[in-house]
Symmetry: C2
Subunit: 193 residues, 2 copies
């Protein structure tokens, strides 16, 4: 049942060193590639990384840029980061057994939309295989793409570290249905917004 | 099994007049709202439309703009549209029993990414309930948003007509795994691209 799977699935940033079977990652990508896409272009490409040397380099590239980002963050963003214990350190990039880098072909119509829709498919398939991840959006995609020879027509949309969860945190709360669903018009609109 | 669901799911543009239970649409939205989102902002809003008068108006607004779009389309886009028998007429907007309009709060970080990821969840939940749809991206979102009183901070990302399929077409082909998956580097890169 999809709803149960969606409800049990939560974002994980800490992984056990145990290496999951590669076939389960391929299962998730096989699911993702069934997603619809603009003009059936199927703009997605996936790079699976398990080479420790490359993982370390990706982590270094990201942390350098994250440091600057965190130093400059303020307001509700800063509060959210502090409260959720998120900082510039991205251990998961070198410690997760696998990284899946997700790219979108910039030439495709609705390239970003289609690719993120397929990531939705992928997350549920990973959950089914008891694999955890976070949809990490790296700050400096150009350097990473160059490191692994990715042509400029592909945009790096997300890095998904994959492994078994070593994180006991609770799933963050979701809003109630009546806060997000309206009928026929936006008439029940909350004054705050 | 998620893979089977993803494989059986296909885009549908023609619907039976039979009205599905509203609770199955809400089930799909309940699933969608479990998706992760930037800063857990949950930027999505869903408007369910079954008022025939509003559906007709939305269809008129869209078809007016689609007509111009199709008159100007050329090259591979035009070929794709012709081959798949897609034209400026959007019967499904008035003929599907329900429309779900999906909005993204522009103020949220990664608003578009998060919302399309949640649409991925939604499509699989709809498939589980034997409901069909197409992720239609309307050409003139401003007019539609005004029609149903949606504040400018929300961007209309997609209209999903919902109903039982009355379309016998085959699912469009997907690429093979080895065309979209690479290991550690983009080294198996096809010369064409």
């Amino acid at each position: 049942m999809i709803l149960k799977l969606a409800q049990s699935r939560k974002t994980i940033r800490k992984f056990k060193p145990e290496i999951p079977p590669l076939k389960n990652l391929l299962y998730a990508i096989e699911t993702a590639k069934e997603a619809p896409s603009g003009m059936n272009y199927q703009p997605w490409k996936f790079i699976i990384i398990n080479d420790q040397h490359i993982k370390n380099k990706i982590r270094n590239i990201c942390e350098k840029a994250e440091k600057t980002f965190y130093e400059n963050s303020k307001g509700i963003l800063k509060d959210f980061l502090l409260k959720n214990n998120i900082n510039w350190k991205k251990e998961f990039l070198s410690e997760a057994p696998y990284l899946i880098l997700v790219f979108a072909d910039r030439r495709a119509p609705f390239s970003k939309e289609s690719t993120w829709l397929s990531i939705g498919y992928m997350l549920l398939a990973l959950e089914e295989k008891k694999l955890s991840t976070v949809t990490y959006t790296p700050p400096n995609i150009k350097e990473i793409s160059e490191l692994i020879n990715v042509p400029k027509i592909f945009s790096l949309e997300a890095i998904l570290p994959i492994g078994y969860s070593d994180d006991l945190k609770e799933k963050l709360n979701r809003k109630n249905l009546n806060e997000i669903v309206f009928f026929n018009k936006f008439n029940k609109f909350d004054k705050e917004e």
